[in-house]
């Protein structure tokens, strides 16, 4: 019975957050702690000859750690072990860590860092992904026979689409604190992170030690969005080396400049589409080429490419599809995880391609989508037959009903929109649309390999303690688990406690990524709770009275108050990793967005004036939290579309501060009108699927589509900055060029 699921409980951790009591990493009191810093490369590629230490500085005041101080393997263990904790000879990117310094105070640290000068013999750097020779990972997806179908095609529509990188811009910069090994030899790290067991694994590898000699604890984390998926492993390795060298706790908390300069951002992309379409708009064949810039090391790139390729054909039915994907190595700062994980890039491309097709056939964009959208019984590009929980029609029709976009004369079939005056400026308005899906959970056999584990345990006070490694960093993990556990136990939210993500206390339920926390881990939480409930009622046969009393009585009667569950994938899922065929995800979230914009014809500045999103999440466990996720994700997507500029020069990010690395503020933000649709997923907890990443995918193409509607020019490269729009406008209107 659902009592708490579907209602809005308050965030259990909320009172601490609104009163200043919540303890983030920088807030931890660490008497006697030193400050850690990093000497870095200032060139993208070269050979490290040494780090000169200026004799004018008294080096006895600080402690240093270089590659020689790494006790185990000098690698940050992620997918591949190619990224060193500290460079030894080869320098592969600007900002690469070379030498670590700990000092008793920030001032001394600053002086020491300024007195350490790397000597690097520069080498030619590879900075353009188009001619990068090193392929980090490739994927080929084939359905039907796209090359033959395209060879026969009467009409082929082609487009090339680009997205630049994007900064996560969590408001709390990255930070960890490491303690030197305690009396039992255990190294403890606390920090801002999404995935404590990732950090744990990298420390065990770097220290060459036993799993129980490392303990990683997540503290309150001020946003992540993927940005705190892999990088905390790097930071933790550094802080641990320094804590060992200094013999005291070491705080490594980046300021905003350092965070912006060296932490991973969204992979830049270039996607080419060649599509064969029938006169009525039916997609006959799609050939898609995906290229991502991976940066200097593998990090998470193969998995980002995987998600990109699987989503590259969009939420459309097509019998002949070929998707070729490559992520290449360049000498950029390694790119990494950012909400959507490759899907926002390819969703931008395929949605722009759909608009291009609509324009070429003089079909309404909504009509073209209606004709080709995936429905129950259709198969995706990987050949997955969609059996259940497909909200495609609902989300599309509802957002159209709310926005009346299908009655809007998009690009006016060639008729230019009249500019109108608004406060003395020449402006044009436009409306755009996008339709998309996002796979929930790890790709393919990922969940099977991981085997997430979850424990629920009754404590002496009669509360149920939920133990997982899933972290809260704003999405509402704590409230969501509380609601699921309360209902599964027949308890009230007050009877539930969510344990801190401490690797020495909780089982490994996997990383908090990939929109998997609710569907996968939440499902395990419910199962464990149901098992406990069954034991309790078998013991007493009575479910009346307060849960805590019953739980205490159950324990007093010798009942076993500990339940552990290992995740089992829904039955019947088949995935062929070698050929990228089969059931890529257990379920997909579905959504459609409409954006309205106003473009200033003199400055080419874009203002998004209204944004609508209709989303099928299966079941909203906590509707207010789900809305919050969708609103926040949509705004990040709007920023990605036109506002958030991150550029590189010589391998360096040019935007090194918040004043230049812009994210939307309240005045850049339109009203975001979210509507939830619930097409339940039978294997998800209470019918839920994932929601975290989905809203990041569709906003950018919807905004680009609206700009295209307003200006009548193609918007194929985002962010659509005024400079880019002016360029495109002048190409279309050479008579206006001065």
């Amino acid at each position: 019975m659902e009592r708490t699921v579907g209602t809005d409980i308050r965030r259990p951790e909320g009172p601490d957050k609104v009163s200043g009591r919540a303890v983030f990493v920088a807030d931890l009191a660490t008497p006697g702690a030193w400050f850690g810093g990093t000497v870095r490369s200032d060139v993208p590629r070269g050979e490290l000859l040494g780090v000169d230490l200026d004799p004018a500085f008294d080096w006895d005041r600080v402690r240093l750690a270089g590659p020689a101080e790494v006790p185990g393997a000098n690698v940050v263990a992620m997918i591949n072990e190619d990224m060193p904790v500290l460079a030894e000879r080869e320098v592969r990117h600007v900002g690469q860590p070379l030498l670590l310094v700990a000092a008793p105070d920030a001032e001394t640290l600053g002086a020491a860092l300024a007195a350490a000068r790397p000597r690097i013999a520069p080498l030619p750097a590879v900075l353009d992904m188009e001619d990068a020779p090193d392929v980090l990972h490739e994927i080929l997806i084939e359905k039907g026979d796209a090359p033959s179908a395209l060879a026969r095609a009467a009409r082929i529509i082609e487009g090339t689409y680009r997205t630049d990188t994007q900064e996560q811009m969590y408001i709390e910069p990255q930070g960890v604190i490491a303690w030197p090994p305690d009396a039992s030899g255990c190294t403890v790290v606390r920090g801002s992170m999404q995935c404590p067991f990732y950090v744990h694994k990298s420390l065990v590898t770097m220290l060459g030690t036993r799993a129980d000699a490392v303990r990683v604890i997540q503290v309150e984390t001020g946003g992540g969005f993927g940005g705190k998926e892999d990088y905390p492993s790097v930071l933790a390795c550094h802080a641990v080396l320094l804590a060992r060298a200094a013999g005291v706790p070491v705080r490594m908390i980046y300021d905003r400049h350092e965070d912006l300069a060296v932490t991973p951002k969204r992979h830049p992309s270039r996607v080419r589409h060649r599509t064969s379409v029938a006169d009525d708009g039916t997609l006959l064949a799609m050939d898609i080429d995906v290229l991502l810039d991976g940066g200097a090391y593998t990090t998470l790139s193969p998995v980002v490419l995987s998600r990109a390729c699987i989503h590259a054909a969009g939420a459309y039915r097509c019998d002949h599809v070929r998707i070729r994907g490559r992520v290449v190595r360049t000498d950029h700062v390694p790119y990494g995880a950012f909400r959507g994980f490759g899907a926002p890039q390819v969703c931008f491309a395929v949605e722009r391609q759909m608009d291009r097709i609509a324009g070429a056939l003089a079909l309404h964009p909504a009509e073209l989508r209606r004709k080709n959208m995936l429905r129950v019984g259709d198969t995706t590009a990987t050949g997955q037959r969609l059996e259940t929980s497909v909200g495609s029609v609902e989300v599309m029709e509802r957002v159209l009903a709310r926005s009346r976009f299908d009655r809007h004369a998009w690009r006016s079939a060639g008729v230019a929109r009249e500019p109108h005056d608004s406060q003395g400026a020449r402006k044009r308005t436009g409306v755009g649309f996008s339709f998309f899906f996002h796979g929930a959970g790890f790709t393919g056999s990922g969940e099977e390999l991981l085997k997430a584990r979850v424990r629920v345990e009754l404590d002496q006070g009669g509360r149920a303690v939920v133990e997982t490694a899933s972290t809260e960093f704003g999405q509402g993990t704590i409230a969501m688990f509380t609601a699921l556990a309360a209902d599964a136990l027949g308890a009230a939210p007050e009877d539930i406690r969510i344990a801190a993500a401490d690797t020495s206390r909780v089982p490994n339920s996997g990383p908090t990524v990939a929109s998997r926390t609710c569907m996968v881990v939440g499902g395990c939480v419910m199962k464990a709770c149901a098992e406990l409930r069954a034991r309790m009622s078998a013991a007493s046969g009575d479910e009346s009275g307060p849960f805590a009393d019953r739980a205490r009585a159950f324990l007093a009667g010798g009942g076993d108050g500990l339940a552990e569950v290992v995740y089992a994938s829904p039955p019947g899922l088949v995935w062929d990793e070698e050929h990228y065929r089969g059931d890529a995800y257990p379920a997909y979230g579905w959504a459609a967005d409409v954006a309205e914009v106003e473009v200033d014809l003199d400055t080419f500045e874009v203002r998004v004036t209204r944004f609508l999103s209709t989303v099928d999440v299966g079941k909203a466990i906590q509707p207010q939290l789900v809305e919050g996720q969708i609103e926040g994700g949509s705004l990040q997507a709007i920023g990605f579309a036109h506002l958030e500029v991150v550029t590189t020069e010589g391998g360096r990010f040019l935007q090194d501060r918040m004043a230049t690395c812009i994210i939307p503020g309240t005045l850049d933000t339109p009203p975001i009108e979210v509507e939830l649709v619930e097409v339940p997923f039978p294997h998800g907890p209470a019918g839920a699927k994932g929601v975290g990443e989905l809203p990041m995918d569709g906003g950018a193409p919807a905004v680009a589509s609206a700009i295209e509607d307003a200006l009548g020019i193609h918007v194929d490269h985002i962010p659509a900055t005024p400079e880019r729009l002016l360029d495109a406008w002048l190409r279309a209107h050479p008579e206006e060029a001065l």
């Binding site: 909320g14 009163s19 807030d27 811009m169 709390e172 919050g628 309240t666 005045l667």
Partner: protein, 160 residues
């Protein structure tokens, strides 16, 4: 720190008189967080761009990362930990205005400043007004809708 010798500064924080001995140009944010161990005010940028460090000085909202402590000698400083914010906190809880919580202290203090301003000016608190008042406070989680709703609910005294 800034060359000048440490000096004593006395001001009230959340109604209590406090004294800090520090360099005159020490940032108010650091004095609050380190010397006085009031870590509710956050540092998101250190350059006046994010508003996470917002506090009130004599009722006026400032970015405490930009204010040298010598400027608040004798002043009244109010932070997110202080009294008088119950209605704002309640509204942020009820309306879902706090997600990760790192921008929240600044949002709450700025909301309070806006409410006081509306009251002084006899202006009705509107969503548009809140949007403008919070323009200097960045949030990456919420998309702002629920923050604006929280601010308006607090100002109208109608949080559910």
């Amino acid at each position: 720190m800034n060359g000048a010798p440490d000096t004593s500064f006395t001001f009230t924080v959340n109604g209590e008189s406090r004294t800090a001995r520090c360099a005159p140009l020490a940032r108010l944010l650091d004095v609050l967080r380190e010397d006085l161990r009031l870590t509710g005010s956050k540092e998101g940028c250190g350059e006046g761009e994010c508003g996470a460090c917002t506090v009130l000085v004599d009722g006026v909202a400032v970015n405490s990362c930009l204010v040298p402590v010598c400027q608040v000698d004798g002043a009244a400083v109010a932070t997110v930990e202080g009294p008088g914010l119950e209605a704002v906190r309640e509204a942020f809880l009820a309306e879902g205005g706090a997600q990760c919580g790192i921008c929240t202290p600044g949002m709450i203090v700025m909301t309070k400043a806006w409410m006081d301003e509306c009251e002084r000016a006899g202006r009705a608190p509107t969503a548009e007004g809140a949007r403008k008042a919070l323009a200097g406070n960045l949030c990456r989680c919420t998309g702002y809708g629920k923050i604006i709703a929280s601010a308006v609910a607090a100002a109208r005294g109608e949080s559910r």
